[in-house]
Structures are given as structure tokens and as C-alpha cells.
């Protein structure tokens, strides 16, 4: 059911990510200020963007679940949030490495994007204890969806509030939108973004397939037990 087009997707992500890595190391020019360390940007920022999109997608799937009552949408929402949390952890780690290398500190409270991301990450981590402390499957799906929608609406609000709280704007080394990037860097960045996005979709489908298969297996086992 979910495994359709999994193989082409996997191939596409391998090809795109390999291309992105080749571009990162052999094509994109070295940053004049930061040198080699700046290359972490090509993995850090795409992961952050994809993780946030994953959280938002989780909210959208949750809305569809509440509208239709079809629990497979809740499963999609759950897996999207699950993948985004894993990516989010990687974003925080690569962000800390980048901050240490270019500003000399592991953590900077005056970097609004990083701080907002931490708050969002902390909130989404509560998804697991909430989801798994509800036993009834229907209620679990409904409550998780309510959480996913609430948290999805919280994400932009939080980014806005944290940004307003800055005393002064941090000198931007690179515009995060890629708007002011030189051509080679922008191309590399876009390919990397596409690669991480494809990887996310592939892993999401894979996880859905695995969850679906294990649920079916459980159902069949139960049926076999009843028959015996």
C-alpha cells in the first residue's frame, strides 16, 4: 500500500545526495570568511527546512485525519513528526558544530533561528509520551492529531516571538533563504535541499511500509491464534 514507488524514490535520493556531496566538495567555492567549515551549511540548513516542513506536514495530515476519521492519516502524521524529530536532533547538533567553528561557542542565544528551533524541538519531543500514554487506538490517533495541529500552529508564532526578542539582529553570514548566495553556492544548496527532501520522503514511506507490514502481521497472527 505504501511501498509504491519506494525503489525509484530511494534511487533518486541516492543520486541527488551523491550529486550534492560532489557539488559541495568540488564545485562550490570556499567561503571567504569561514573557509571549509561553511560547507556544513549545505547539510544543516536543508535539514532544518525539511524538518520544519515535516512538522507542518504532520499538522496537515492531522487535519485530514480529524476531518475524515481515517486512521491512516494519523499514521502518516505520526511518521512525519517522528522523522522530523530525528532530523531536528541532527539540525541542533550540526548547528552547534557550525556555531563553535565560526563563532567560537557551542550555543548562541542571540541566534533566533537556532533558539526557536530548540523550543519547537522540545515541544515536539512531548509527542511521544503523549501518544504512547493513551491506550485506546482511536483516542490515541485523535489526541495525537490535536497535538500535531496545535504544535503546527505554534511553530510560526514561536519563530516570530523569538525573533522579536532579539536585542539586535545578529550579523548574517549567509542569508538563510539563499537569496544573496553566489550562483555556484545557490545551485549546490538547492541540490542539497532537494536531496534531503527526497531522503525524508523515502524514509517516511519506508517507515510507513514497515509499520503497516508489522500491523498486518500482528492481525494475521491474531487470526491464526483464534483459528487454532
Amino acid at each position: 500500500m505504501y511501498s509504491k514507488s519506494l525503489v525509484p524514490l530511494a534511487v533518486a535520493s541516492v543520486v541527488t545526495i551523491t550529486t550534492a556531496l560532489v557539488l559541495v566538495f568540488f564545485y562550490a567555492p570556499l567561503d571567504a570568511d569561514q573557509g571549509f567549515v561553511q560547507k556544513i551549511f549545505y547539510i544543516h540548513v536543508p535539514m532544518a527546512i525539511v524538518a520544519l516542513c515535516g512538522f507542518v506536514a504532520g499538522g496537515v495530515f492531522a487535519i485530514r485525519h480529524l476531518r475524515s476519521g481515517d486512521r491512516s492519516w494519523d499514521m502518516r502524521s505520526y511518521v512525519a513528526i517522528h522523522m522530523s524529530i530525528i532530523l531536528g536532533l541532527a539540525v541542533l547538533i550540526t548547528g552547534a558544530i557550525w556555531a563553535k567553528a565560526s563563532w567560537g561557542h557551542w550555543w548562541l542565544w542571540d541566534e533566533p533561528v537556532l533558539v526557536s528551533f530548540l523550543v519547537v524541538f522540545l515541544l515536539y519531543c512531548v509527542y511521544y509520551p503523549l501518544r504512547f500514554s493513551i491506550e485506546d487506538p482511536d483516542r490515541q490517533a485523535r489526541y495525537s492529531s490535536v497535538f500535531a495541529i496545535t504544535a503546527g500552529a505554534f511553530v510560526p508564532l514561536n519563530f516570530m516571538a523569538v525573533r522579536l526578542a532579539e536585542k539586535y539582529t545578529h550579523p548574517r553570514v549567509l542569508s538563510q533563504t539563499g537569496g544573496s548566495l553566489p550562483g555556484e553556492m545557490r545551485l549546490t544548496f538547492l541540490v542539497a535541499l532537494l536531496g534531503v527532501g527526497l531522503l525524508f520522503v523515502t524514509l517516511w514511506k519506508l517507515e510507513l511500509t514497515a509499520k503497516h507490514a508489522s500491523m498486518q502481521l500482528k492481525r494475521l497472527r491474531n487470526r491464526a491464534r483464534v483459528a487454532a
Binding site: P129, I134, R139, F147, I149, T150, A153, L164
Partner: protein, 224 residues
């Protein structure tokens, strides 16, 4: 809808008046946290950023207690079934619960804010009162909306005492930012509002978003 909400609110306020479970506990908790901050920071009086931070963190932590207890009576006595069987829609239940929380928070602040001024605050509170009232009212509205939603979300879980603070506190971060920043200039020696409009508009936006959102999703909670 209004009649249903009013009846539930009246019931909640009556229960609180008779059992005195939430509000006194929240007040007691706030004063205890002031004492902790006094020793933790080793300061006799605070002003500016530190004062505003201590005040708001304390109030929000006290709010956690109120949110944890919000559905306590229904859960322990089985009253939730009665509420769900009664011909009132979920929105009136939400409105009533949020209103009850709003009243509790206001009652707590009537004691906890003067206590803060008495125990820890360096500069007097006198000149800043009107602004502070507006900030407190907007903050209570936001906490009430988010709190009622979180309380309902956590009500059916096994680990609700764990879920409420973990869920509520990150959700309150934007509110804390707005409140602490708005209050900070009011608690300085040379008190005076500064950029107040900006923080009040952020606070109002937060309130609008969460009141509408909570009303929209509350129907799906406490269904069966």
C-alpha cells in the same frame, strides 16, 4: 452555549470555593518559588530584567498547578461522564474551563504580585499598575486558552502529571517572551513603558491564535 458554559463555570467556581484546592496551592507555590529565587540568586531585591523574569517564570509555573488540577474533580469523582452525557457542546465546556482558569489565575495574581513587590522587588510597583493590569489580563487569557486545551489533552493519558508541564511550558514560551519584555521596563528604577505596544500586540496575537485554535480542535477531545 452561553448558558451551558455559565453553568459549568459556576460549578467549577463553587467547587473551588468549597474545597479550596487550586488557588491556595498556587499562591503558596508562588511564594515558595520567590523564597527559592531569593536564595538561588542570593539577592535581597530585584529590578528590571531579573525581576520581570522571576515574576513571570513563577506565575507560569504556578499556572502549571492550576492546569494539572483543571479536570481533577471530573476525573476523580467520575463527573466527566455526566458532563459528556449532558446536552452541552464541547465548546461550552472549553469556554467554561478556560474561564475558570482565568478566574483562578487572576485570584492568584491578586496575592502573588503584591507578595512579589513586598518580598523581592526593589523599585515600587505604584506607577506601573495600569500597564501591568493590561499585561496580566492578556497573559491570563492566553494561559487560560492554552491551559484548558492542554488539560483536556492530558486528561485521558496515563501520565498526565508529566504531560501537562512538558506540553504547557514550551507552548508558553512566546507568551513568556512578550510578558517578560513588556514588564521589564516597568520594574526598573526609572520606570516607564517602552515598546509596550509591540509586546502587547504579540501577546494579543498569541491570545487570538490559541483561543481560535483551541475552540477549533477541542471538539475532538473528550469524545467518548
Amino acid at each position: 452555549m452561553i448558558a451551558g458554559a455559565r453553568a459549568i463555570l459556576r460549578k467549577d467556581l463553587l467547587i473551588e470555593l468549597r474545597t479550596k484546592e487550586s488557588v491556595p496551592a498556587m499562591v503558596l507555590f508562588s511564594v515558595t518559588v520567590y523564597v527559592l529565587f531569593h536564595f538561588g540568586l542570593d539577592r535581597d531585591s530585584l529590578d528590571g530584567e531579573l525581576a520581570s523574569g522571576v515574576l513571570w517564570v513563577t506565575l507560569l509555573l504556578a499556572a502549571v498547578i492550576g492546569v494539572t488540577r483543571l479536570f481533577a474533580a471530573e476525573r476523580e469523582q467520575g463527573g466527566i461522564d455526566g458532563l459528556l452525557l449532558a446536552p452541552v457542546d464541547r465548546t461550552s465546556l472549553f469556554v467554561a474551563k478556560a474561564a475558570a482558569l482565568f478566574v483562578f489565575l487572576t485570584a492568584v495574581e491578586l496575592v502573588a504580585v503584591p507578595a512579589f513587590a513586598l518580598l523581592l522587588l526593589g523599585p515600587g510597583l505604584g506607577g506601573a499598575l495600569p500597564e501591568l493590569f493590561v499585561i496580566l489580563a492578556l497573559a491570563n487569557l492566553g494561559v487560560a486558552a492554552v491551559g484548558a486545551l492542554v488539560a483536556a489533552l492530558a486528561a485521558e493519558t496515563r501520565a498526565r502529571e508529566l504531560i501537562v508541564p512538558l506540553l504547557l511550558l514550551p507552548l508558553l514560551v512566546p507568551l513568556l517572551i512578550a510578558c517578560a519584555q513588556a514588564t521589564e521596563p516597568l520594574l526598573r528604577q526609572d520606570a516607564g513603558p517602552e515598546e509596550l505596544g509591540r509586546w502587547l500586540s504579540l501577546l494579543s496575537l498569541y491570545d487570538v491564535v490559541f483561543v481560535l485554535l483551541s475552540i477549533a480542535v477541542f471538539d475532538f477531545l473528550l469524545e467518548d
